[in-house]
């Protein structure tokens, strides 16, 4: 059947030879496509590499497993960030890619909306945060009983989103009105090092990985991390890439910042207990103070003016906050199950 948009390329654009058929073009270090976790991912890799279209592969989305779907969505999302060495850059706007992304994100959002509908706890941010404190977290485990090997495993898992920290929120920026836009820019400026490249938080985390004897390369651990870890990243990226979900993105950020300072302080104590190099500690030490500031900015100067007294908007902001803490709690429980 003829479609209106048969090509993944901008069809009539002549590109410089040096940039033709190149994915990430070497400007920023990008990654190779991660190996698939199932038939959906395998078919998507074929599609992205231009070997065989997804339509020809005939995979059934509903039969794909959770890990297969999560890694596939993570991979599709990455096309909007750095891309892949082995994927044509125009795949970012390939209609099949966008269509599959819509399907996978619909399922992910629906799952979170169902969980939020079933939530019978407090419907204010501090109350919600307090309610989630009953769920086991990784920071207490790191502070009190984790081994160095377990901490390294946690750092490798967290690298999936810490190495692109603050990048998703850049997509939210143009979708805000004046006051919240200024508030988000203030947080982002701090996250991105406040003009000092060596203080960029993603760079601090790369230094943490390096000092802990792990691979600081962007995307190095994506192929092997837990499905629940990929979901943490996918939810944030979905909220930030879709304008409709910008209130959820703001609520997610407020919850994230408000649940960061004390856990980071606990992680600092755990890392020192285990004798890790101070370069490993720096990233978490920075976040104790930084996120105490960001917490106030994210709620009072970003979320409150976005809500502007509207009950529906407030509920959407709280949905984002809930989703943030729910997927983090699921991820923590999943990882803790390996060791306790």
């Amino acid at each position: 059947m003829q479609t209106w948009y048969p090509s993944s390329r901008c069809p009539n654009v002549a590109r410089p030879t040096s940039m033709r058929d190149r994915g990430a073009d070497g400007y920023v270090p990008a990654m190779k496509l991660p190996d698939a976790r199932g038939p959906l991912g395998a078919a998507v890799l074929d599609h992205l590499r231009g070997h065989r279209s997804l339509a020809e592969a005939g995979v059934r989305l509903q039969e794909a497993g959770a890990g297969d779907r999560a890694l596939t969505l993570w991979t599709l999302h990455e096309l909007y960030f750095r891309g892949f060495d082995d994927v044509d850059a125009d795949m970012e706007w390939d209609p099949t890619v966008v269509g599959l992304r819509n399907e996978l994100e619909s399922d992910l959002e629906s799952d979170l909306r169902r969980a939020f509908e079933a939530w019978d706890g407090p419907m204010d941010l501090p109350g919600m945060i307090a309610a989630f404190e009953d769920r086991p977290g990784l920071s207490t485990f790191i502070r009190t009983s984790a081994t160095a090997a377990q901490v390294r495993e946690i750092l490798a898992e967290k690298s999936v989103f810490h190495l692109k920290e603050a990048d998703p929120h850049a997509f939210v920026q143009p979708r805000l009105d004046v006051a919240p836009k200024a508030a988000l820019a203030t947080i982002q400026f701090d996250e991105l090092g406040a003009g000092r490249p060596d203080r960029l938080h993603a760079k601090l985390f790369a230094d943490t990985l390096d000092a802990a004897g792990l691979d600081p390369t962007y995307g190095a651990y994506v192929a092997r991390v837990a499905t629940s870890t990929l979901t943490v990243s996918n939810v944030l990226t979905m909220f930030c890439l879709r304008r409709r979900l910008r209130f959820a993105a703001a609520g997610h950020l407020a919850a994230f910042e408000a649940t960061s300072s004390l856990p980071c302080a606990a992680i600092v104590r755990g890392l020192r207990r285990l004798g890790f190099d101070e370069r490993v500690v720096t990233y978490y030490d920075e976040h104790v103070e930084a996120d105490a500031v960001h917490e106030a900015l994210a709620w009072e100067e970003l979320c409150v003016p976005m809500i502007d007294g509207d009950a529906d908007r407030e509920r959407e902001v709280l949905f984002g906050a809930f989703a943030c803490m729910e997927v983090e709690a699921r991820n923590a429980a999943d990882l803790l199950e390996r060791w306790t």
Binding site: D190, A194, L262, E289
Partner: protein, 45 residues
């Protein structure tokens, strides 16, 4: 607080502000004076 270059404590100790917005401790329980480190959340009401 915005546009803070440094903070001077009552006994004359100076702390340089290294970020564009800073949060000062107002509960007295911080482990990193003069900055807030969210310890107030552990104090209860």
């Amino acid at each position: 607080m915005r546009d803070v270059d440094f903070v001077v404590s009552p006994d004359g100790e100076t702390s340089e502000a290294t970020r564009p917005v800073v949060a000062l401790c107002t509960c007295g329980a911080t482990g990193r004076p003069p900055w807030c480190d969210a310890t107030h959340k552990l104090l209860g009401d």
